[in-house]
Amino acid sequence: MTNVHKKPFKYRFIGFLKELMVKDSTNFIQHVYFKIKLTTWWKLYKKIANKDGVTYLCPYKGTGDVFVATVLLASQIGEDRVKRSKVCVIGEGSRKVVLLSGFTDVMALEQEEMDDVMRMGTALGFAPLDLFVLHADPPNSKMGITDHLRNYNGINFMDFFVSGVFNNPGLNVKVPAFDECKDSVKKFFDDNGLIPGRTVIVAPYVNTLGELPVWLWIEIVDEFRKRGYTVCTNCDDKHWPIFGSVRVNPSYAELKEFYEYAGYFVGSRSGLCDILSSFDMCKIIIYLSTEQWGSGEIIDFFSMNDMGLCEDAIEIVHKGIDFLTTKDEILRRVQGWERSHGGSKVPVNTVR
């Protein structure tokens, strides 16, 4: 896709207008509707167009979707084109995720604007507009069928991107460059009485997939505290930190330093897990089996190890209502990780 496609778009735009409006102008309401629609699209297109090449679109604001799409994109197009590319996302949070991969021209759109961009692409064509969609099946469009294939033949989340988006099954993730901020992290730990290397960060709140109940997280936090760990809850201002823990919400760029300094992560599967997949720490990821995901379960589709994001995630599936078994399993797996990483200094018996 190059700039030569820009000119045909104008012709196509006018042609579309003639075909659909002028030819069928007997219906006045339809005529006015299309005219308003196309005027809106034209303004929107001028806003998102990239003079130096392609505009990449993240049509869904899930943190994991945006992260996986842009780390793969950076790997696919190389560093030079990363600098010249423009990426459009929904919301400021997604914008910060994209910045991790080295993109500098990142525009945050409103949900309604992105919906309109997708409709414009469906009607007029994405390639002639120099647009590339970084999603195999955008929820805000009506064009996709790929989502129905979740888990069939072992199709997972990564297959949707490497094959469904980039058509390049051999594509690997390019681990983003995180900020170095050891001093500020150390200061935060000192100020809040957190123990470096013996702090557990819990992440109980997620957007898309299911969550464990808050009372269970209170028990988990309590158990870790009894065993001599300090505990933080990774959450924004809209959520309460779990009782007995310190609220933390480091920026995406500071995540690596902060998390590796803490040493432990225990959280429900979310987009945050995709970002911290490359971190050198104890990562306990909990998947709920209460929800079907296509023909399989959530872990079948989103397993970080199976997706190739990492090999060292400790993945636990929670089933049914026996939440305390899941709690015990988390504690056992943490002990197991410690034994394989230099021995545990904490008591081994689980306490209820």
């Binding site: 299309f34 692409g121 009506k142 297959d159 094959s163 023909s295």
Partner: protein, 148 residues
């Protein structure tokens, strides 16, 4: 021409690919059952689909043969309107932006699975094995039935 009603599924066959059209017709009945639909209106630019459809299902309310340009216009309109999809499109790369053809062959995914699961959302999926008693010699019908 019959008009649309909630008990009717409108299915568009915009492609000339005989394998795609074969599976689109083969799983149409199952789709109607799963979608709790009474019958289907088929819109196609392929005369083979028009001729062969009756061999696959008796639940066709009408078949509308249109030109390639009309199908393209219809699928462009698909993007303009703000309502949920009013029809099913039996295609791997149409309307614009659907790139399910990229998934073909990934972990052994076949055209049959992409049509039945992807296009028609038939989950759980069981392959349909069927023989057709066709003693005619229309090359367009035979072209579609050769996939059986």
């Amino acid at each position: 021409m019959d008009s649309y009603s909630p008990g009717t599924e409108v299915v568009i066959f915009p492609e000339d690919d005989s394998r795609l059209n074969y599976y689109g017709l083969l799983y149409l009945d199952e789709r109607l059952v799963r979608g709790l639909k009474k019958d289907a209106i088929i819109v196609t630019s392929n005369s083979g689909v028009e001729k062969a459809a009756g061999l696959f299902t008796k639940k066709i309310r009408s078949i509308i043969l249109v030109s390639k340009e009309e199908v393209e216009d219809l699928l462009s309109l698909y993007g303009v309107i703000d309502t949920p999809a009013p029809f099913i499109v039996v295609s791997l790369d149409s309307p614009e932006g659907r790139h399910a053809d990229r998934m073909l062959g990934v972990k052994g995914l076949t055209v049959e699975q992409l049509v039945a699961i992807g296009v028609y959302f038939i989950i759980p999926f069981r392959p349909i094995l069927r023989r057709f008693a066709y003693d005619g010699d229309d090359p367009e019908v035979l072209d579609i039935l050769k996939e059986a």
